[in-house]
Amino acid sequence: MPDDALLSVHDLACARGERLLFKDMNFTVGAGELLLVQGGNGQGKTSLLRLLTGLARPEAGEIRWRGEPIGKCRDLFHAEMIYLGHANGVKDDLDPIENLRFAEGLQGRAFERERAIDLLQRLGLSRCLDLPCRVLSFGQRRRVALSALLLADAKLWILDEPLTGLDVHAVALMEGLIRDHLAAGGMAVATTHQALNLEGVKVQRLLVGNVAIPEMA
């Protein structure tokens, strides 16, 4: 195992009910690297990401963070990892700033209001700062969720279809943010069906399941 591999997966197997989705999966992700998880619908991409976060338990095998099984270093791992799933984790009754405030509080961190507003504006939400998220569009709510992701300053991003519902500007912005994150020594594991423009980024591709898909971007 290379020294810079912060996240490593050893002989991982995942089953949903009776069905074995994958087994004997091995990979490592180091600082500055992006792991792009690819595969058709229902092949186990989301299941893999949920295993990586620790939300689900593997059928067999082990996931290690900084060389330790994630079950053993839960607090450290959770402090350095942030997960964005299909659901945004955005409360409809709260406005974007309140959403970020509670997201930070729930991670046990102090809330930096200026920085949060700055991030929301960067993601094009300056006109929605005091509106309840209920009235925002799907894409705007996704942007709120992405702001929370950025605010968290985590080392490892685990992103499940982060580009769903985003327009071309936001996709371009997101590509830039991922590049910045990796350039700053961060790392990311992401699934996406969209082609990403990630020049100058160290990308690993991982195919989940046995259905081959055409090479993207």
């Binding site: 959770h78 299909h86 659901a87 984790g89 955005v90 409360k91 709260l94 991670q107």
Partner: protein, 222 residues
């Protein structure tokens, strides 16, 4: 740790303040159920004082159950529950915070309404005083044990009904000692023994329930 607990509390209280309709339903339910009994069994004052403590306690348990099915499910639907469980802070604290918030939102108002309903049942002032103490000790038990049920039935179809069937048996001790304490005053045998047992049950639930609920939550999210 303290900051996390406070964040959970503030978040749930803010959300409850934004959705006052849901909150009012539980209080109205309490008043309605308790008010149906005098209409059903007749207005005979001695009879009402006899059944009053039990009726009020049953109504309080049902009112608290009504709101429990949503303790985790709203956060589960919009994905924020996963974020909270993935927080570096312990899940036990999360569950404790959410149960505490549930008690503040749905339990405390019951305490405020109960004396008025007590008068309706012709309870003496002393009995009403003991009723308040028994509810003060008892309603946190309902929220704590309810958290276990809500975590176990999270994401299940028809989870609300299952939750009721699962949790009501666990409420029985609280119901017996809570209503028993007030009955004791009405019958003149004193309330202290019942209240002590109720307090012990509260301490027991406080020590055990958050851990079971946290484990159940992890299983339900898998």
């Amino acid at each position: 740790m303290g900051r996390f607990l406070l964040a959970v509390l503030r978040r749930d209280l803010t959300l409850a303040a934004r959705r006052r309709g849901d909150w009012l339903i539980a209080q109205f339910f309490f008043v309605m159920v308790a008010s149906l009994f005098p209409l059903g069994v007749g207005p005979e004052p001695n009879m009402l004082a006899r059944i009053g403590p039990g009726v009020l306690w049953v109504a309080a348990t049902l009112a608290s159950l009504l709101s429990l099915s949503r303790l985790f499910s709203d956060d589960h639907h919009d994905g924020s529950l996963e974020h909270m469980v993935l927080s570096p802070e312990p899940t036990v604290l999360l569950v404790l915070g959410k149960s505490l918030a549930h008690w503040l939102i749905y339990g405390i108002p019951l305490l405020l309404i109960a004396p008025v309903l007590g008068i309706q049942f012709n309870l003496s002032w002393e009995a009403i005083f003991i009723l308040e103490i028994s509810l003060l000790l008892g309603t946190p038990i309902l929220s704590l044990l309810g958290g276990v049920g809500a975590a176990l039935t999270l994401g299940l179809r028809g989870g609300g009904v299952l939750l009721t069937l699962l949790i009501l048996p666990l409420y029985i001790p609280a119901l017996i000692f809570g209503a028993g304490a007030v009955d004791g005053v009405v019958a003149g045998t004193g309330a202290q023994a019942h209240l002590s047992l109720l307090g012990a049950f509260l301490v027991l639930s406080l020590m055990i329930a958050p851990w079971i609920a946290a484990a159940a939550l992890r299983v339900s999210l898998e």
